[in-house]
Symmetry: C2
């Protein structure tokens, strides 16, 4: 008999998961709170573009759709750093020319939904999940337009409905000993636009991610297929330099002209963009368990919502799908085993990437503008190139080493950082950074 | 015009708060999910008896009802420790004969509800809060018996509905940037009974709290007015010695006979008590903010749910009422000021007692059976008696020093503990613990 699966949420992870499950022959129904973004010009929710990297590609490879997705992506080879004094610096992402791909959240989501339907999944829109009966795997759904309520029973439910998951709320309210935390940064964000330049070309080099690091805050820009850039200002909610303080056109423009002088001329709609909406918030979500018996499993942001500073939210969610696929291959129809193994193996990785993502905000907004930090990166890159089996920089492990779990990458990264602290403390390191002495010192510390 | 106040939850804190607010002339309506415990023999929810101490008395004093409550309390002067070898040790609570009062949760709650009604508050039972509209301070209530739904509007709402607060859920679901965490201990508890002895007398000394400390777990007993004791077994959920492991009458009795040999003969209904219900869980709740504008304020466990090991849950909630009363006296009808001041001043104290309560589990289940720990307590007590202005033991500060905030008590306690670590490391401390040398060493460390 064909087994029924309900998926709550047709975002990036829910749509990809629907493809995986439909391909295995399940009868998959996906319920999405928002209207069908393929038919209306609604916002796709949060950020407009995303950086797709190797863990994400691996998730897409698993259902053979990488090539199709690559067509709508723009390769970014590194960070182009816009310093306050107008100088530009470049920092490659990988030690071997690796790239992250800027993709449109909406474009990718539409493609995944089309493929899910093509593989037989049914998608329902404007259906808000208001309740889940855990023991019977029955979801109550309220249609946003008709206000009609329906109950959908299935063999099991997957909750891929994001950081403010209704499926997770069912675990919080309906089960005992459910650990849960939602915590917010004191910083929020607003999205701004750099349109194509006069000749129709990109206004900045589109093969980089652009960063204006300013210590306590930053502006970044990612390229879009239409040759525009979407910029994001990450900025404190309150305080001297904050969203609360820049409350008039004059104050905002004076601040931008001082802090982002080379970007302002590229942003003709800056004032409208800035004042369009209040700043969005940045949450980290942690919970456990991620499941209820063999009836409900949370995946993606619903299980492990993270801040965007390592560009890993979507990539982590897509990797979830591959991990689940491997466990379904191993345990077959023993869903209790699949769900337990999934949450136990994946929880440390969700925790690791949550911490790494929070730490990377400091790196992006502050350290990338710092000469000593860039020197440290150069030393690491040089050593890694000479001894690739001994050293992979943390960024590369997290972003491109899909053979390493996030938790392993974090652990190795901590060991490496401790070594680099000692290397950077060597007298005259600025002069001798590429010497044999430094190389040998690292080798010795690695053996200790 | 008479201002309307809604209180969600007629537990200990909600009922006391109703008295405070009704005395100030507000029209107070209290909605309680459970039936009226004065009319039915339902369980009062969690634990059967509680230790009332000075912060709690201060909250009761504020509305002049301490004398009435004292009639239903039993003074406990210290911990009577039942060691595994059958030996008994005694540890006084205070340095000056202070006591904690064992009171029945149900009895105290009924008394407070009677008084709330006497002062004009209206109490409604079987009314479960299913939704709160924050901007209009309107609560939606569903009657558990009639299933009828009503909407009650007020000028503001107080949420005193405990660790699993529906009022708090309104903040979690309905506001941005609400920090929230619920975390559970790996240990749970079951309540057992020691009935009166054959002659109708208490089976143990009823002027003490009894502890059977066993390292990773413990049994405690508090006296009741009917000359019984309520015992609580705090025990791991899983593992070698755990609720999961003791799953038959034989295993359970063998374990109790080995671990609590002197208690078993006093517990004729042990088997029934133990297998009556699954173990209850122990949660710590942290959140912020505790309010929405001047419309909603959380108090008691709804704002700061803690584990029971410092006996401070109710006391902290009653102290909340006094803190609110002082702020209402100061800011009068400026409720925005009252709510902001309440949450900002009280949050560090809620966090402090949450940490202290968690730490005290280790002290109760493990350290009180340790000779060196008891020696340290003796040294502290002796020094505190000679220099009361310089030293108050942590337990005394938390429990009896109502002039100190929990956060101050915690901070001083940490400084004192660091000093005691050095004192306990003095060679021959066991012999010279009551010498001038040790006293002078403490005095010197205090000045450092």
């Amino acid at each position: 008999m064909e087994k029924k699966i309900t998926i709550i949420g047709a975002g990036l992870v829910g749509s990809l998961l629907a493809i995986y499950l439909a391909k295995r022959g399940f009868k998959v129904s996906v319920y999405e709170r928002r209207p069908d973004m393929r038919k209306s010009t609604i916002s796709a929710g949060r950020s407009i573009n995303l950086a797709l990297s190797d863990r994400g590609w691996r998730g897409l490879d698993g259902v053979g759709i990488s090539d199709e997705v690559r067509k709508i992506g723009i390769a970014m080879k590194g960070r182009e750093i816009h310093n306050l004094d107008g100088k530009i610096a470049f920092q490659p992402y990988g030690t071997h020319g690796q790239a992250n791909y800027s993709v449109s959240r909406g474009g990718l989501n539409c493609l995944l939904m089309d493929l899910a339907e093509k593989h037989g999944a049914q998608l329902f829109f404007n259906e808000r999940c208001t309740h889940i009966d855990l023991t019977s795997a029955t979801a109550t759904l309220e249609n946003n337009e008709t206000k009609k309520t329906t109950q959908e029973s299935a063999d099991r439910i997957f909750g891929t409905d994001g950081a403010f998951s209704a499926a997770r709320l069912a675990l919080q309210i309906g089960t005992d000993r459910f650990s849960y935390s939602q915590s917010y940064l004191d910083h929020g964000y607003k999205e701004l636009t750099i349109p194509p330049a006069k000749g129709g070309e990109f206004a900045l080099d589109h093969h980089n991610l652009h960063i204006w690091p300013r210590g306590q805050f930053m502006l970044i820009a990612l390229p879009n297929l239409d040759r525009s850039f979407t910029c994001t200002l990450f900025f404190p909610f309150e305080g001297e330099n904050s969203f609360a303080a820049l409350d008039t056109k004059e104050k905002m423009l004076a601040f931008f002209n001082k802090m982002f002088a080379d970007a302002v001329p590229l942003m003709p709609t800056l004032v409208e963009d800035y004042f369009r909406a209040p700043p969005a918030s940045l949450a980290t979500i942690r919970c456990f368990p991620w499941s209820y018996k063999d009836k409900l499993l949370l995946m993606g942001d619903a299980a492990h919502g993270i801040v965007p500073f390592f560009g890993q939210g979507m990539n982590c969610g897509f990797e979830d799908c591959i991990v689940l696929e491997e466990l379904m291959n191993k345990h077959r129809e023993d869903w209790n085993a699949v769900f337990r193994a999934f949450e136990n193996s994946r929880k440390p990785d969700g925790d690791a990437i949550a911490e790494l993502a929070t730490e990377n905000y400091i790196e992006m907004r502050d350290k990338v503008g710092d000469a000593r930090f860039l020197l440290q990166k150069k030393i690491e890159a040089r050593f890694s190139e000479k001894h690739p089996e001994k050293w992979t920089p943390l960024y590369v492990m997290v972003t491109y080493r899909t053979d390493l779990r996030y938790s392993e990458a974090q652990e190795r990264g901590q060991r490496q950082e401790a070594i680099m602290q000692q290397i950077m403390a060597m007298p005259g390191i600025e002069q001798k950074w590429d010497s044999d002495e430094v190389e040998n010192a690292i080798l010795k510390l690695l053996k200790a």
